[in-house]
Amino acid sequence: MQAHEPGSLLVIVPAYNEQGAVGEVVREVARHVPGVPVLVIDDCSKDSTVAVARAAGARILPLPHHLGLGGAVQAGYKLAFALGFEYVIRVDGDGQHDARDIPRILDKLKESGAEMVIGARMDVEPDEWHTGRLRALGTRFFRMVLRPILGKSVHDPTSGFVGVNRRALSLFSSSFPLEYPEIEALVVLQRRRFRFEEVPCRMRPRKAGRSSITALKSLSYIAHVLLGVFVNILRYDGRWRRRRQSRSARSGTGDGG
């Protein structure tokens, strides 16, 4: 698997114990975007995720031990960048994302020139979401927190259905949040003044297995993500200040404060 053509796309599927759904996810991607390679990043599953994905026609990137979602996704980004892919779209291994939306995300990436395109749950009522009201509440909360930071509103910051171009790939290969990557990744993008867009997408209940974000973990999730967002802002401010200081030093003028 090597990206020879300009504009080449790779679909990555981070998976951990997804033997019940990952096969269908791979087949569905192959059906709707034929010819596009699918890379399943196996986060050291204990079940037969690897065998099922391989039988469905996916390439496998097997991690030597469990890294968590962020670590798995970043491994996929690193490989895609090294192989020269221009675009990467991440699809979850639980079957929640509809592969029919992949061409729309790709088109938006190409048309808008934005570094990242999020497949957002826009046409679905919060009550219909598989994780129910808790997720809807969390999403609303993060929407509120992120708006002043990003300078624009984001409808579905927790969506894992995400497409990135090569510039974002380069950035995420060196700096990517490891615990709960979706929201923090937006702040990482903002630090570089990169743009993101959203495309309304269909979402389905997961086909098999259990979500890694349970009701009990939600509070810890919120605390972790808020801290991650805050730390990323601090990093940005630190860099901005250093840049300003070095510019002042070069021009031989003081900072004035």
Partner: protein, 117 residues
Amino acid sequence: MDRLLLVSAGVSLLLLVMVLISVRRSHIRVEYSVTWLLAAAVMLALSLARPVVEYIRGLLGLPDTPLAVFLLGSALFLIVFFRFTLIISRLRDDNIALAQRMAILEYRLHALTHHES
């Protein structure tokens, strides 16, 4: 008060011996034992030097000496924990980067051997 300082000295001595035994058995690497040895030595010295503890108590304006010993011990071990948190975080980052690199190399090696055969 004397009993408290005696207990504190005993615990510090025990910690010193435990760390030294662990280093000798290669359970703790030498570079990581230094922080523990230093902390235990400082606690032992403070426990044996009552006038120093009294001086620090007066300096901090604390009502009694046991509280001063407790606070000094806590501060010392907080520094030790902080140092080890830094080390663990760096090791975790290195570990993730290494695991990703290994997976990518394995993938490329597999692709290469597949291509050759």
